[in-house]
């Protein structure tokens, strides 16, 4: 029963994601390449924050004010899930200084280093592929 409910949730979320993406396409919004460096920086930090929050929550932490505090226990992972979590930590650790560097260029109105931008998006993409 639980298995079926999980399948239903997965399908529902995918349908929702598809509908939202379709709406965005019809609205004729900007593509990523048309966005300003500041907008790209927001997207990078937003994805990082979401993935970071997911990791912290699964390991028993809650954000209280500006600080993360241990309020529960780490969830009972399978070995496969542990591997995913380790890889996720590795990517988050590697991408953080790159996003910080990218954002420092944005904050100081300096010319963006395209290699850094590509590397960040490649790592964020890897976060998605890692769960395939």
């Amino acid at each position: 029963m639980r298995f079926k409910r999980n399948h239903f949730q997965a399908v529902l979320v995918l349908v929702l994601a598809f509908m939202l993406a379709s709406c965005a396409a019809q609205k004729g919004g900007k593509s990523l390449s048309e966005m300003s460096d500041k907008e790209k920086s927001v997207i990078m930090m937003d994805i990082y924050n979401q993935q970071f929050t997911d990791y912290m929550t699964k390991t028993g932490y809650t954000k209280i004010g500006d600080k993360w505090e241990k309020t529960g226990e780490i969830i009972d992972f399978t070995e496969d899930q542990k591997d995913i979590m380790r890889k996720k930590k590795e990517i988050l650790t590697n991408v953080y200084p790159l996003i910080t560097l990218y954002d420092s260029y944005v904050a100081n109105n300096r010319q963006i280093d395209l290699a850094t931008e590509q590397q960040i998006f490649a790592l964020l993409d890897e976060l998605v592929k890692l769960v395939d």
């Binding site: 994601a17 919004g29 920086s41 927001v42 930090m45 937003d46 954000k63």
Partner: protein, 53 residues
């Protein structure tokens, strides 16, 4: 498998919502969103990520 699909969908939705709230936003709104996201990013340093045994 289901967890993986949910994870991908979550990532897509996050990217979409990020994109959607920036699209059509005024410079002032973008600045406000940027400040909010950056403040959170600064507190989410990777040294806080617990090792998985």
């Amino acid at each position: 498998m289901v967890d993986a699909v949910l994870e991908i969908a979550k990532m897509l939705l996050t990217a979409y919502f990020s994109y959607a709230r920036l699209n059509g936003a005024t410079d002032e709104e973008i600045e406000r969103i940027y400040s909010q996201v950056k403040a959170s990013f600064k507190t989410n340093t990777p040294d806080q990520l617990e090792d998985i045994e």
